[in-house]
């Protein structure tokens, strides 16, 4: 991958660094994963002002953060996703560019200890166990972490358990191993195994996503940024303001007012194919969920119930098939999205299996409507809402119902806006169905459905343009 493309993907949310001397098979078989291989991570601890999601014309909608800036990446909060393989030695160089001591910490794996302002520290550690980890600054807890000094480390197993298919774990439970063995081999999960890709349909193997949740408080974080250099903002005062600040009807208190997944809110997460899985029926995907903030979230996914296979380093003995997940501060949870046909699309037996779809009747209100199988939903896929020709100014804003888009949102809904209102710009992502591997005649891709696996967008930024000067 060209460096320019890599940086573009990196800003989008799921380009990742792969650490290790040998590119493992789970990467080299995954030509569409945007990765850069490095032998050493090189972080600078620094700060940034970020333009947050808004359509508010009366303020800048900015939030101050601290961040781990890796030299290969543009500045972003959270720090980059880092992928490696179990047993790899990871070398990290960290320079503290801020005014108070900072650190790099992964529970049970590495602890840099305090790094003085201006100092650089070299550390190394072994990625000892496959799984999902939050790396963060554990000093003045939880202030430094919540201010933005956090990111995700993903450790993949070296091999599948002999005689079985790959899971995200080295020692899966019987139930979780059975689930991954069943993808692509059973009548209820027809399609691909998780470890299987298909270059002819641009489908990567080991489809996996990170949803790193955060809730940022612009006024509290500004207060930390304005604190006298060299002094730690008192942690108890920080927690109290974040969790208990007095209600104000104009919303201008110190409780969190921006809610992000991988640093993005609303449209920027929900329509980003490196955050929101875009796959066909029969292309199961793993989502790794981490909560860096101090708030409870209740994540609800539409269109597929998902299996929660691991929580905080423990593989589930009894993986529940759920549509809503409780995520507490610092929780790390793996979800598996089976990517089955949404089960309540009418079918012959109506028992949740991929039966033949029912045959529709012709609908006199739809021109040219004739009886046809209700899946793939060709009449629905051909619908535009807003209708074709609907405009905002001179700009066409029609949207085709293809791919079939579903949301994932925090149902503890006070996270679903930005700046206290502004619904639709909060903590959300989704899953998008771009086709079906099991349609008669083979794999289908829905009309005009995107198969891109990284954002390709350039141009002027969203938000009131006048504020883009400055910094």
């Amino acid at each position: 991958m060209k460096r320019r493309d890599f940086v573009k993907y990196a800003g989008g949310g799921l380009a990742a660094l792969v650490v290790g001397s040998v590119l493992p098979t789970w990467v080299s078989n995954t030509s569409l994963l945007a990765v850069k291989q490095v032998q050493e991570l090189n972080f600078t601890i620094t700060d940034a002002v970020k333009d947050m999601i808004t359509h508010n014309s009366i303020n800048k909608a900015q939030c101050y953060f601290w961040l781990y800036k890796e030299q290969n990446f543009p500045a972003e909060i959270p720090g980059p996703h880092i992928f490696t393989t179990e047993g790899s030695l990871i070398k990290v160089s960290i320079t503290n560019g801020l005014d108070e001591p900072h650190a790099f910490f992964i529970p049970g794996m590495v602890n840099s200890g305090p790094i003085a302002p201006g100092a650089t520290k070299q550390i190394q550690f072994v990625a000892s166990k496959a799984g999902t980890y939050l790396y963060y600054d554990n000093l003045n807890a939880p202030v430094n972490r919540v201010m933005g000094l956090h990111g995700a480390l993903i450790v993949m197993p070296n091999n599948a358990v002999p005689g079985h298919k790959f899971t995200p774990y080295s020692n899966p439970t019987t139930a979780v191993q059975q689930l991954f063995d069943d993808f692509g081999t059973t009548t209820h999960f027809p399609g691909l195994a998780w470890e299987q890709g298909d270059p002819t349909t641009y489908t990567p193997a080991f489809r996996q996503y990170v949803w790193l949740l955060h809730a940022a408080s612009s006024r509290l974080f500004a207060e930390v940024g304005n604190y006298p250099p060299g002094r730690d903002y008192p942690a108890a005062q920080f927690i109290s303001a974040y969790q208990r600040d007095r209600f104000r009807s104009d919303g201008l208190n110190k409780k969190p007012d921006y809610f992000t997944i991988n640093g993005h809110s609303g449209w920027f997460a929900a329509h980003n194919p490196t955050i929101t899985p875009h796959h066909r029926v029969g292309e199961p995907a793993v989502v790794r969920i981490l909560n860096a903030g101090l708030s409870l979230h209740s994540l609800h996914i539409h269109a597929n119930h998902v299996y929660a296979t691991g929580k905080n380093g423990v593989v589930e003995e009894n993986p529940i098939w759920m549509d809503t997940l409780t995520v507490k501060p610092l929780d790390v949870i793996e979800w598996v999205v089976p990517f089955t046909r949404p089960p309540d699309v009418p079918n012959e037996r109506g028992i949740g299996l991929p039966d033949k779809p029912l045959i529709s009747i012709s609908n006199p209100r739809i021109s040219g409507s004739t009886p046809h199988p209700v899946w793939p939903p060709t009449e629905e896929l051909g619908t535009f809402m807003p209708k074709r020709g609907d405009k905002a100014g001179d700009i066409d804003i029609s949207v085709q119902l293809s791919p079939i888009c579903y949301p994932m949102h925090d149902h503890s809904e006070s996270s679903q806006g930005a700046q206290g209102g502004n619904y639709g710009l909060g903590m959300m992502s989704g899953i998008h169905f771009i086709g079906d591997r099991n349609t008669p005649g083979g794999v289908s891709t829905f009309p005009n459905a995107s198969t891109i696996h990284g954002p390709e967008v350039t141009g002027p930024a969203a938000g009131p343009d006048v504020y883009h000067e400055g910094h």
């Binding site: 961040l67 098939w321 609908n363 700009i395 700046q419």
Partner: protein, 437 residues
């Protein structure tokens, strides 16, 4: 390095070339489209209710006709009136003006379900059938398809269990203000009286795998593919519905209209959208990030107490057949006999977190409308016992179905402990009577 001299500036990303999906995220279109992939509806429940509940009609065959409204004042336990948005039903006089929660909808597995939903020139709404997984246009999320208008939602429930339905427009406000009701998927023959069962009462059956729990009689195993409508189901004698909710009276007072914080797109979307159109330019209320409940309810019944208190609802509360798809006798406070199988359906509709504690052991048979241990999709998990006194943590929108069967008499309470989702501060302990004689 500081707020005023940061090391970096991170600009917003562009939406250029993607204005349509950007606008739709916060300002979805209101449309009245024909139902694509149209099928003849086959849901027998509306005709049953019309035939058995006095005054109820069924004007569109095999179809229910809910509607959504706002601006109703309901009286709380202390006499204070709060602003609610309610779901009503056009065929049910008891529900025409809306109820809190909305009427419970019961549907047999496998039928083609139609809900003809009207807008009334009010703020736009949708119905999302939470846990039901149809195509996007029938999923009822404006941001993925459209807001109504008039539309007939269509889906076929494939999994027996506990669901709910709610408006998915500005969900922060519309769901919180009361636009929701419970939804139950039952075995395929639940409304077929030809075998002599009491279709409008109890016992009824639900999905479970109780092969390891012989204490619950009448469980039938086998497999779903056999076509036996009772495969992998268990009968229950008593059914209780606990919909746990919390209310912030400040939100109700200050955000009184249903489109208070609806942003509108500008003629250059992403650049000159307007956040403040609907607040009449005064920034009257922009605090939907800050929820601090001070009223607490279960299935619409107030826990009569202030913040910090422990209070009980009355024993013997039930839900009328007219608001429960023609089924008489569904309970809120539990009143059963010894050696009866009791099914409690739990829904957390609160934005805070709750802990539910039972005074007896309960067996969890289903979570989020999916029965545990029922193959093929449930072959990876199994039902489990939660011992008496151990709290069950729930967060917003989760459901759990638990079974109770006691050979001993009991007069006690189920307890709902509310804690703030941010601070974990204790808010209220609500008690629901459980009497087994």
């Amino acid at each position: 390095m500081s707020f005023s001299k940061p090391g970096h500036h991170i600009p917003r990303r562009s939406i250029e070339g993607h204005e349509g999906t950007w606008v739709k995220i916060f300002n979805p279109p209101k449309e009245s489209p024909p139902t694509p992939e149209l099928l003849e509806p086959t849901n027998p429940v509306p005709a049953f209710v019309a035939a058995t509940v006095p005054g109820v009609t069924n004007l569109t065959p095999y179809t229910i006709r809910p509607h959504l409204m706002h601006g109703t004042e309901l009286k709380m336990w202390d006499g204070r009136e709060l602003n609610f948005f309610l779901i009503g039903d056009n065929d049910t006089p008891d529900a025409f003006d809306g109820t809190f929660p909305g009427p419970t909808i019961r549907v047999p597995r496998g039928v083609v379900f139609h809900a003809q939903v009207e807008g009334h020139g009010q703020a736009p709404h949708t119905i999302h059938w939470h846990g039901i997984e149809p195509t996007a246009i029938n999923d009822g999320v404006g941001h993925s398809s459209m807001e109504i208008g008039d539309y007939t939602y269509q889906w076929q429930p494939n999994h027996i269990g506990s669901y709910f339905y709610h408006c998915h427009r500005n969900t922060i406000q519309h769901f919180d203000f009361g636009l929701y009701g419970f939804l139950i998927i039952e075995p395929p023959d639940a409304y077929d009286s030809s075998d002599g069962k009491n279709v409008g009462g109890y016992p009824r059956r639900t999905a479970a795998n109780l092969s390891q729990y012989p204490m619950f009689p009448g469980f039938i195993g086998g497999n779903l593919e056999s076509g036996n409508p009772h495969a992998m189901t268990v009968p229950y004698d008593v059914e209780a519905l606990w919909v746990i909710d919390d209310i912030d009276s400040v939100w109700r007072d200050q955000a009184e209209h249903a489109h208070q914080t609806f942003p509108e797109h500008g003629d250059i979307p992403g650049v000159n959208d307007e956040f403040h159109t609907n607040d009449r330019g005064k920034q009257e209320f922009f605090a939907f990030h800050d929820f601090n409940p001070d009223y607490f309810v279960v299935t619409g019944v107030n826990f009569p107490g202030r913040l910090g208190s422990t209070v009980s609802i009355r024993p013997g509360l039930t839900i009328p057949a007219s608001l429960n798809s023609g089924v008489a006798g569904m309970q809120i406070s539990v009143n059963a006999r010894r050696n009866q199988t009791i099914l409690v359906r739990l829904l957390c509709a609160a934005y805070t977190k709750v802990k539910v504690t039972f005074p007896v052991d309960v067996v969890v048979i289903a979570v989020d409308g999916r029965s545990l241990g029922v193959p093929p999709f449930g072959r990876y998990n199994k039902p489990y016992t939660i011992p008496a006194g151990k709290p069950i943590e729930m967060s917003t929108a989760q459901r759990m179905d638990v079974l109770i069967r006691s050979s001993r008499s009991l007069s006690s309470f189920g307890q709902i402990e509310y804690r703030h989702h941010l601070s974990d501060a204790f808010l209220l302990n609500g008690r629901i009577p459980i009497v087994i004689k």
